[in-house]
Symmetry: C2
Subunit: 437 residues, 2 copies
């Protein structure tokens, strides 16, 4: 092992520039920690002329990231290009094929090609590290892969998208609508011009697919994830949740069930007293339930140049020190392909918000539809005159909020369909799953 | 490297028995993760006859842990004896001298002899791992040593003693006195018959000394820690804290200051909205403030056989995989010996609860003593008739609670001494430091 580890970085956006700054700022400490000098010797990006407020003097410039990945002048390739195919995938493959280590923050790439890339890394005895791909600065990949090695994990769940958590927090705290908060998030740079990827839950799903594999020793299977976004959440839901002792968060959840591993992303009611409910703004959090450690929660920044760079640099230091793990903790050939339970099989409590026609027999009819399917109610709340959704005049729809005890998704959907069929319910019921600690 | 890693365990209390159970339960996964079979082949404990509800059949029995540590039949020595000298120290030294890896949960040993043991480990190229010594199942040692390698850490603080947090939580939630909660904690097995070590803050100090070294690259220096316990905390303090938007926790805090590294353990007011304030019961939590990651908080079980065993097994897996870190992250010879600021130099806000003589001029005199030292007040609360501490009759002492803005320990103490000297204050003022996020 040479004393100097020569690093090539492809992608010089906020994270790439922060990685270079961090490696320079901490150079002495990193050498002492790892026993090697870590030096950025080459970079690649699209626009050479851009002012990135970092000194690139003396660094070899590649306009083609694949050429950088293949360069004999680097020992480690850092991929910060992004995208689930194209140059990101091609350059990572090129580096691994030459036995060079790869550090990446690219969750989309891992969600789609994680298994093939892990196989390539293992075949070439090259490290492939991706701490920064999930939950930014939170060391959850290392925790699952190494810190909880003695545990059988039952469930992993978390707030994995800062944009969604910012919007939900802001709606609740400022009493603003979803659209208003989305615009504010875009103004602050927390949300993209096309926000679908974040608010639709797809970014969370990518990250969840990686956590699931690490937690359960399974093949990455992003397509098995049931995904719902936060677009349908209203202020009325947030207020009702609080009155009932809950808060709404967009969670990614993976858990063992009799049918395999259930993976889902959706707005979720969490108890106000839970650690995860306290996580506001762009902060992320991940909770792991496991047999030995019981419950472990990590809370920290999910995005941002420096926080993400913190994770990238930790991976670089691990590679420099010679820490070798297979990318997903277990050899890729031993990762299992578990059952993919349908969301209809999901078991849990439910929050249901209905617009009920205010006429005799309505409540009884709905209660009957639930009772027929053995669904018990933890609480029921009816808003009368003066509430946002009610005119107070009899005959108009009134909002009713129900919290059920544990049942299955199939049964609650059936019951609500039947109740809608009875003609007492106006519009479509809002249904939000409850996640308990 | 042989395929089988032969483990010897000294100390078969709750943690020792749990480690054996966990290694057996997870045997297959651990072999897949580490590439080696991990096998407990020998044990040592005082009483061979005790029923520990684990099968020790076929394991070599040593009545002397040093003989176990020196045995040619083991590759790794796990020390779970406890105590800062005696057989724990002697056996760890014996193993390291023979180049055998050591995994220990012994914070007292590390707080006292950590530097000498690290030097011995490094000289003999033997791993020395101690994740379980701080905050039980929370992987904070790995996080500081590896996960935050790219950061300059400014402060690390946490709830590191479950007994104290249980007592404070229970006092607040049940409205009970310190003595009542201590008895309850003893009944539940959360507190020892002689609880001084926990409630006096000494256990927290041992753990803090280890975190400080890992966070700041400094020599372990437990003697530099200013230690206060929770014995003086009353229900009145907990109630006043809540009314003012705070909660009282026993924290261990280490932070960079101009004078070096300030290390202190004491009851602390934390904002009710902070992550650490939400941590109730025997749960532990550690927060790290650093330049790149900003703020990272880990919350989990701080004690208990299985949770502690989770950390021990993670260390064993790291050794099996060949993960090599110097014990404190940096070579022991490069660990610095920073300045040890006196507690008088501490800067921060203060909570002060006084019994004030209810006669003209009292408030003015106290306010003058504070103003003379440029101490500003964030809030002031005076309880009149009907409060627990007041008879409501003029002339009797009334409780007054002050929250100051940032000042220094020396100034607030001076001001209070002067105010006591003025004759308006009955008894000794209660002073609690405030820790902000």
């Amino acid at each position: 092992m040479s004393t100097v580890m020569r690093v090539g970085i492809a992608g010089l956006g906020t994270v790439g520039a922060s990685v270079i700054r961090l490696l320079r700022r901490q150079a002495e400490a990193l050498t002492a920690r790892t026993g090697r000098q870590i030096e950025v010797v080459a970079v690649s990006a699209r626009d050479r002329g851009l002012d990135r407020r970092i000194d690139l003097e003396g660094l070899e410039w590649f306009s083609d990231p694949i050429a950088l990945a293949e360069s004999a002048n680097i020992d480690l390739f850092v991929e910060l290009i992004g995208g689930d195919d194209g140059p990101a995938r091609a350059s990572v493959e090129a580096a691994l094929k030459r036995g060079k280590g790869v550090v990446t923050a690219n969750k989309a790439l891992l969600a789609k090609h994680g298994m093939a890339l892990a196989a390539l890394a293992e075949a070439n005895k090259a490290p492939l590290a991706f701490e920064a791909s999930v939950a930014g600065g939170i060391p959850i990949v290392k925790t699952l892969r190494e810190g909880l090695a003695g545990n059988r994990i039952e469930r992993v769940y978390g707030i994995l998208n800062g944009t969604c958590n910012y919007i939900l927090s802001n709606m609740e705290q400022e009493g603003l609508s979803f659209d208003e908060c989305l615009k504010e998030a875009q103004r602050l740079g927390y949300a993209e011009a096309d926000p679908t990827f974040d608010i639709g839950g797809f970014d969370t799903a990518h990250k969840l697919s990686i956590l699931t594999s690490l937690a359960f020793g399974t093949q990455v299977d992003a397509e098995a994830i049931h995904v719902e976004g936060i677009q349908s959440i209203t202020l009325a839901d947030l207020k009702s949740a609080e009155e009932l002792g809950y808060r709404i968060k967009l969670l990614g959840v993976a858990q063992r069930t009799v049918g395999g591993i259930e993976q889902r992303v959706h707005p979720t009611m969490v108890p106000l007293s839970s650690a995860i409910a306290q996580v506001m703004g762009v902060t992320n959090a991940v909770t792991v339930d496991a047999d030995a450690v019981k419950e472990l929660t990590l809370v920290g920044p999910g995005a941002g140049g420096e926080a993400t760079a913190s994770a990238v640099v930790a991976d670089i230091a691990d590679v420099a020190k010679g820490i070798r793990s297979t990318p997903f903790g277990l050899p890729v050939t031993t990762l299992t392909k578990p059952g993919r339970p349908e969301i209809a099989e999901h078991e849990g409590g439910y929050y249901v918000r209905l617009s009920v026609q205010d006429r005799p027999g309505a409540a009884a009819a709905i209660a009957t539809r639930l009772a027929e399917r053995q669904i018990s109610l933890e609480s029921i709340m009816q808003k009368a005159a003066g509430s946002a959704r009610s005119t107070g005049k009899p005959g108009n729809p009134v909002p009713v909020v129900l919290i059920t005890y544990a049942t299955t998704e199939a049964l609650i959907r059936e019951a609500l369909d039947a109740a809608v069929g009875d003609g007492y319910i106006a519009g479509t019921p809002q249904v939000i799953r409850i996640e308990r600690e």
